[in-house]
């Protein structure tokens, strides 16, 4: 890095190159790990059922490609539909709670309580009600994230800097203007916090709901593969779900960057 | 005590700085924002190593003096441990120093000295900013160091509290006769509290001037109207390159 500073490379190029460097190192490390994996499993004659080699996973992937895309698509639709509905409904309800004392006193404690319960436990009931199709999975997804979004939206709307509201009042702004210009933007970081947290549980929710009742979708595929002891296919399914989870999270983070460009980066602990 | 030449790092934080502090003297250091006052104080206290030069306390190297618990620090931010009560916070240096703390002051007495008698069992979160600063000072005094190094200790407080704490500090100093180096960005405060004012230039800092304040201690508020005071403040301002309006 000192070298680059010496040749007077601009700040941007230096940052880009250092990121590139890190990525390269990461790729090399991962590549090395995969190679080691392949080598160890073959050399130690680990049974296929326990731990397949990267190569056999790759083969399984090739063989299953078309069905894989189908199942991935299915699960993705379940997740995305549920997530969007949950986000919209959650924000609406959260707003309602923030504006109505009555609703707040009734619903807020309930929402917090429900937030603490394992939403996933609902899956069997939903499957009973809505059948083995996609609907039950979507409902599970919605229930999983809905309350989180409500709580955070209400919180965000209420924690607007009172000085800002005073400013708006001093300009005789009507409530609706205050809402869109001040409250909503203040609440967005909170909402997105909730969204980022819940997207992962939505993915889990959909996948697990599929375990409970389905043979379709990535969850269903995984369970099927497991029951046939087809470990390679199981790995493929697991990797696919993980990739899906990461990708969706990335999308939400991207949306956050776009919609909240002013947000300072945070790190460290969460609660 | 003397602090010979001192210099900064790859970015020159400080230029040649050299000054002495006599035993029992109250010296203030004043300079524009970012000139390196804090860096200087840390070097004086042995927390940072100067790239050139050294710091001697009573003829011995500062690091030796530090191990002998001769230096007390008070920072801008009181940094009290939130999980300890006031008195436990004051006791912290005693616990850490163990044997090296040859002179110890009873924590309760120190708290009384800073005017916080009766607040021993309160938590920092229950104390006001001014009170927290007092606890920080008490903490620095509890192991009876020969020198107190203070980095804008009243920086975060309002004017009235600052004045009160400044008076308390001087009173404490007269009782305990320690050497104090007091960094501040307030010129009036620097002149009013100290016997000598070290004026630093902008970064990289060098000693612009050392102004001796000829007013006797204990100083009273009416001295702020005296000729000597106004002239000294003017001297400091001139040294900092600030004009004084109509010249005298």
């Amino acid at each position: 890095m000192g070298i680059l500073k010496l040749i007077g490379a601009s700040e941007r190029i230096r940052v880009a190159l250092s990121i590139l460097y890190r990525v390269l190192v990461a790729i090399i490390v991962v590549g090395f790990l995969i190679a080691a994996w392949q080598f160890l499993v073959t050399y130690l004659r680990v049974p296929e059922i326990l731990l397949p080699t990267p190569y056999s996973i790759y083969v399984a992937f090739l063989n299953a490609q078309s069905t894989l895309y189908y199942h991935t698509g299915l699960t993705t639709v379940e997740i995305v539909t549920g997530f969007i509905i949950s986000a919209l409904a959650g924000v609406s309800f959260g707003t309602a709670i923030a504006y109505s004392k009555i609703l707040e006193r009734i619903l807020y404690p309930i929402a917090i309580l429900v937030k603490l319960t394992p939403a996933i436990a609902i899956a069997p009931l939903m499957t009973l009600w809505f059948g083995y199709g996609m609907t039950s999975k979507i409902v599970v997804v919605i229930i999983g994230s809905f309350f989180y979004v409500i709580v955070n939206t209400a919180l965000g709307l209420q924690s607007v800097d009172p000085a800002l509201v005073d400013l708006m009042h001093s300009l005789a702004a009507p409530e609706i203007v205050i809402f869109f210009k001040v409250r909503l933007p203040s609440a967005l970081p909170y909402v997105f916090s909730a969204l980022k947290l819940t997207i992962t549980s939505c993915v889990i929710g959909a996948t697990v709901a599929e375990w409970v009742g389905s043979v379709k979708g990535l969850g269903g595929l995984a369970l099927l593969a497991a029951s046939y002891h087809n470990t390679s296919l199981l790995f493929v399914a697991i990797i696919a779900v993980t990739a899906l989870g990461i990708a969706l999270f990335g999308l939400v983070a991207l949306a956050e960057r776009i919609l909240i460009p002013w947000r300072p980066r945070q790190q460290g602990a969460e609660s | 005590m003397q602090y010979p030449g001192v210099r900064g790092f790859s970015v020159d934080a400080l230029k040649e700085i050299s000054f002495n502090v006599k035993p029992g003297e109250l010296v203030s250091v004043v300079g524009p924002s970012g000139c390196g006052k804090t860096t200087l104080l840390k070097i004086v206290g042995g927390l940072l190593r100067p790239s050139k030069g050294k710091v001697l306390i009573d003829g011995e190297d500062v690091n030796i003096a530090r191990k002998k618990a001769k230096i007390g620090f008070v920072f801008q931010n009181p940094v009290l441990l939130p999980w300890r009560t006031a008195i436990k916070n004051v006791e912290l240096p005693l616990e850490v120093l163990g044997q090296s703390a040859r002179h110890q002051v009873d924590p309760l007495r120190v708290l009384k000295q800073v005017g916080l008698a009766g607040f021993e069992s309160t938590y920092p979160s229950q104390l006001s900013g001014g009170m927290q600063s007092r606890v920080a000072i008490a903490r620095a005094l509890v192991f009876d160091p020969e020198i107190l190094l203070m980095d804008e200790p009243f920086g975060a407080l309002d004017e009235i509290t600052r004045e009160k704490l400044g008076e308390d500090l001087v009173r404490l100093w007269m009782e305990t006769k320690k050497s104090i180096v007091f960094v501040t960005h307030s010129i009036p405060e620097a002149v009013f509290l100290a016997q000598r004012v070290v004026v630093l230039t902008a970064r990289p800092a060098a000693v612009a001037r050392i102004v001796s304040v000829g007013l006797p201690h204990p100083r009273t508020a009416d001295m702020q109207a005296s000729r000597e005071y106004i002239d000294r403040v003017g001297d400091v301002r001139n040294a900092l390159g600030l004009s004084w309006g109509s010249s005298s």
């Binding site: 059922i49 326990l50 009555i102 006193r105 009734i106 619903l107 404690p109 309930i110 309580l113 603490l116 319960t117 394992p118 996933i120 436990a121 069997p124 009931l125 499957t127 009973l128 009600w129 992962t200 549980s201 889990i204 996948t207 697990v208 409970v212 009742g213 995984a222 369970l223 497991a226 199981l234 790995f235 399914a237 697991i238 993980t242 989870g245 990461i246 602990a269 969460e270 609660s271 | 840390k42 206290g45 042995g46 927390l47 618990a69 620090f73 920072f75 931010n77 940094v79 441990l81 939130p82 999980w83 240096p93 616990e95 850490v96 120093l97 090296s100 920092p124 979160s125 229950q126 192991f143």
Partner: protein
């Protein structure tokens, strides 16, 4: 004291009334519209089911509880230790930190079928899963707690010639306690979810397993009972950790953080 009780009561009244109102409305609705009982049983039926079948549920309750708690303990302890390591070792930080973030983002439970394949349908596979889940929030939170110290405080310790072990014991460790508890609260919540999910992936006992059975046999009242028990379990465990937090972090009471 009385005032506080009154305040707490004031918070509880509305949701309780609302809840009771819901229950009554529910009961009347199902009875009045002759709603198919296998879809929506009345609260009364659910209660009766609970009173009848709770003895049989006890072993399953214990199984699930065991899975959650053991996994939580193992995962938390390992998480704390690794958190300390990450705070002190650049190498550990480079390796573990990105992994922890990855796990936070990726659906860890997806590996459940694989774990079940490896460790069988018994309790062990569930404990493994809950351990893995609990472990990461603690690594992240613990290392954050150990490192987010005001640098002036570190300077102060240095000016007193304090050794690193002393700084660790007197400053870093106490500072990290609130962070650790935040992590523990997350860990217990995800452990509960993890245990249930693990049972869905293949089990022989436990409340999640029973839920699956109840669904297959269309024993809807039983399903509701199980749901109640599971919710209660999740809330109770979280509540216990919160209470522990009150004991171990008394100085945060003044802040009133949530």
């Amino acid at each position: 004291m009385i005032l506080r009780l009154r305040r707490v009561a004031g918070v509880i009244y509305p949701p309780i009334f609302f809840f009771l109102f819901l229950l009554i409305a529910w009961q009347l609705y199902v009875e009045y519209t002759h709603y198919p009982r296998f879809l929506l049983p009345t609260p009364y039926e659910i209660m009766s089911e609970f009173l009848i079948s709770w003895p049989t549920l006890v072993p399953h309750f214990i199984a699930t509880l065991l899975e959650i708690v053991s996994g939580f303990f193992v995962g938390s302890i390992i998480g704390v230790i690794l958190g300390i390591w990450v705070a002190y070792s650049k190498l550990a930080e480079r390796v573990i930190y990105p992994l922890a973030i990855l796990v936070k983002v990726a659906p860890v439970v997806a590996i459940a079928p694989m774990i079940t394949l490896w460790f069988g349908f018994g309790i062990l596979s569930k404990i493994v899963i809950t351990s893995i889940i609990s472990f990461f929030p603690l690594v992240l939170n613990m290392s954050a707690g150990l490192t987010s110290i005001d640098p002036s405080l570190v300077d102060l310790m240095h000016s007193l010639s304090a050794k690193e072990t002393e700084i660790f014991l007197k400053i870093r460790l106490p500072n990290s306690v609130p962070y650790a508890f935040a992590g523990l609260k997350i860990a217990i919540t995800v452990s509960v979810v993890g245990a249930i999910v693990a049972e869905f992936a293949g089990a022989l006992a436990g409340l999640g397993f029973m839920a699956n059975m109840a669904m297959a046999y269309i024993e809807t009242p039983l399903l509701f009972v199980l749901l109640m028990i599971l919710s209660f379990l999740g809330i109770a465990l979280f509540g216990m950790i919160s209470m522990l937090e009150r004991i171990f972090v008394p100085w945060a009471a003044a802040r009133g953080a949530r």
